[in-house]
Symmetry: C2
Subunit: 150 residues, 2 copies
DNA sequence: GGTAAGCCTGTACCTCGGTACCGGATGCAA
DNA sequence: TTGCATCCGGTACCGAGGTACAGGCTTACC
């Protein structure tokens, strides 16, 4: 009944993840160190695969690895009791996602307006009062954009 | 009529940008090297401020610095002639922005569903068929997320 | 001419989420 | 026992968009 222990590569394969990534998650504190073989090789219980899937699912929801680490930690500390903190954090993340959507929609609007106006030369546009592009310095220009990038 | 030349710090201030950032843009090829004083200090024409504003405006539209560099280069090469390339690039960027919005909307849906379902423990959720979170490995899990992050 | 502010180049560092490479040790099967 | 796949820890690197610091020179003002 003591299900087979899995080696690093097996866990990585089962979760669809690179072995290096697994080691990286250890360094980041997302995975706790499993038992070791006599020779020092890691031996994981099958649940480790579930934890990895959970991590990937949370990432797909927009949580950073730091946030995932917190999520896993509070989940294991307050196990089973209501308000494991996930609901509150999910609500906060939802608000964050909605802010990003709003930012991108503003960008979409501006791009659409520029296309409608037939803008075809940035530098010429900067001098034209008919161009809809926002050329004046904006708050937050000097910092990380945090919302937008390619 | 030869308006006053501006020094690095003056250009940076006027455009609301860090002096280091200005130098960084030079390294990236976004700004061409201006004339120098006898002692080697850069002396910018007032138009340099406009170029910086253009760069910041393009960034706000979601263009990367690499894309901005291209935009500025083609703008200066095909100056004034129709199809400076901005329209096509803006259209492509618009499509990109719309993809990102769609991705974020999918995330928003999933977060909302998880909140509605009352999910409060990721690890427990992973075992429950009632949980709406996508725990199975997804294509693209092993790579750069490119769309989502905090 | 003195002094302070500003500028010069070069280099290092930051975040985020990994990925890659190294030399050496281990595990497992034939 | 031999051979090969795998794993170990450590370290370095990617890209994007900057920021910071060090050590030395220039410019501007009084």
């Amino acid at each position: 009944m003591t299900g087979g222990w899995l080696r690093t590569g097996e866990v990585a394969d089962a979760a669809g993840v690179n072995v290096q990534t697994l080691r990286y998650y250890h360094r980041r504190g997302l995975l706790k160190e499993p038992r070791r073989s006599n020779g020092g090789h890691r031996l994981y219980p099958p649940e480790a695969v579930t934890v990895l899937r959970v991590i990937k699912a949370a990432q797909r929801l927009g949580f950073t690895l730091g946030e995932v680490a917190e999520l896993l930690e509070t989940a294991s500390r307050r196990h089973g009791r209501p308000d494991g903190g996930l609901r509150a954090r999910a609500a906060a993340k939802l608000a964050e996602v909605e802010r990003k959507i709003a930012d991108l929609e503003a960008i979409r609007r501006t791009l659409t307006e520029a296309l409608d106006a037939g803008c075809d030369d940035l530098v010429a546009c900067a001098a034209s009062p008919r161009c809809p592009l926002p050329f004046s310095p904006q708050p937050g220009d000097g910092q990380r954009s945090s919302t937008v990038a390619a």
